[in-house]
Subunit: 310 residues, 2 copies
């Protein structure tokens, strides 16, 4: 069984590739919930939904988040009423959030709700929240402390990041499915999808016992290609934190936890310095333009996991 | 100044007619909130919204409730997710409910929220809830006690009504705007719109001090024409309560509170028995097919209010 840790768009793509090449019983995808927040009275779980929609084949291919063939009547009407319209919730996407919130208020856990929503959308692989307890990524910036989505969406990542905090992580518990995956004798490998290390993978690793259970056996895929993030603010944040945006720094960040780092062929020159850190570099085409790319990269990652285990 | 009491579709039509012939400062429309309920974690106010949408000119002309040019992506997605889909909330209508709920949770009153939503939708006349306190119409039926919307929408008014209860009314206060209208020295008349007497007008009259302040000076428009309700379950409920559905029984129900009852010309034969009750019958064409009908009936009602006052 393979455990994949994933955040938003990039992670969801590789997770979808894994789901195409592995049967449901051989894959658990643990998803970052540090981006979750309360908005319009709703419990919004952006990463869980991105992974769920991507696996269900209903993700918006242009944005990576939200649903394909979405309509926006709700947002238009909300704007007209003077409501907070900076966070875009499509009409269909809204149903996910309303239904999740309704069930959470009824006493179900986020794991239970997610499992059921996935089943309804035809997702057969396990998409599980990293925790059922609230963990909230807080971005400390030159404009003060910001909730993650306020930083990410409302402020368009413009404030300068000084420090990241995974609030609540210290008292959170891994979700039952994540705990079970980590403890299971059949765990054949842990893969960090090409998600933002600081915003997507780190919150998962910050949940007590997760990093310890993973030990040093993970394989990661760099989200940085040729010094740039495929999507999102990873490179900008690294820059602001005084870290040169490069796959080498990703290797340094994950050092002690990963045995191999899959980097793009464009970064072949970084193979030697990554190897010098004691991490095995693996060159692949890591850009995932379509379904076949996702499957190809998924197969490559599974091969690396196998080699690492051997 | 005229105070109009209104419920859903029929009441909203006459209220819209009044709003066309009276300036904003001369009209207060107090709306039934006994139909309000919590659904999907939202505070839904069906009658307030019907009146607001009708006055804003965005009501769905086919249904009478909801918005024109509505889309239904949310409901479709909610059904797919297995959520409760018996109460139809269009995408635009949903924005009203989400925004209202968000503000109520933030501590605003229903009156404040309603005033602001109306302003956003260009409604310049005062549309006010009967109360900012929860009053919930409960329908006691042969299938047990039902929340109003469960009876009305989910069960399609099929259970046999045994008794109606306006739960919470005894400890509710009239909204400030309704109280002010009732107390004002410039109150020139009180009009009961052709809404369901038992489900729309009675809950308003059940709020302490409202009936007392109105005294016997109201004018009502019968929602029953030739023994049938123009819309809704009024006739069916009267029948189940052992009351013959007719404008005469509407007169009997309002006796002591109304001085005149506007009935349809089709009920001319009831004029004499209504007069015998001490209520002045006024024959009009009470069916409102379009905007000119609404204005005509509004003008007729204003004339009756003037005569009653003299």
């Amino acid at each position: 069984m393979i455990l994949a840790l994933a955040g938003g768009v990039g992670g969801a793509k590789l997770a979808a590739g894994l789901a195409r090449v592995l049967p449901p019983e051989d894959l658990v995808i643990a998803v970052n919930t540090g981006d979750d927040f309360e908005h319009l009275g709703l419990h919004v779980s952006p990463d869980l939904d991105t992974v769920m929609y991507t696996l269900a084949g209903i993700a918006n291919p242009e944005t990576g988040w939200g649903q394909a063939d979405e309509t926006w009547s709700f947002m238009g009407a909300l704007s007209r009423l003077g409501g907070p319209d900076w966070f875009k919730l499509g009409d269909r996407d809204l149903a996910t959030n309303v239904e999740r919130t309704r069930r959470l208020r009824g006493g179900e856990t986020l794991s239970e709700v997610t499992r059921d929503l996935c089943a309804r959308l035809g997702v057969r692989h396990a998409v599980v929240p990293m925790s059922d307890d609230p963990v909230r990524t807080v971005v400390h910036t030159d404009r003060g402390e910001l909730e993650f989505q306020h930083y990410f969406v409302r402020e368009r990542c413009e404030p300068r990041v000084e420090r990241l905090e995974y609030r609540g992580a210290e008292s959170a518990h891994p979700s039952a499915a994540l705990r079970e995956a980590l403890r299971g004798s059949d765990l054949a490998g842990v893969l960090f999808c090409p998600s933002n290390p600081y915003l997507s993978i780190a919150p998962i690793l910050a949940v007590p016992c997760v990093r310890e259970a993973i030990g040093d056996r993970a394989v990661a895929v760099s989200p940085i290609i040729a010094g740039r993030a495929v999507k999102g603010p990873a490179a900008k944040i690294m820059d602001e934190l005084g870290i040169a945006p490069s796959a080498l720094e990703i290797a340094r960040y994950y050092r002690g936890t990963v045995r191999a780092l899959v980097i793009d062929r464009a970064d072949a020159a970084l193979a030697a310095p990554i190897e010098a850190l004691g991490i095995r570099p693996v060159l692949e085409d890591t850009l995932m333009a379509g379904d076949s790319d996702r499957q190809r990269l998924a197969r490559a990652c599974l091969a690396v996991l196998e080699q690492v285990r051997a």
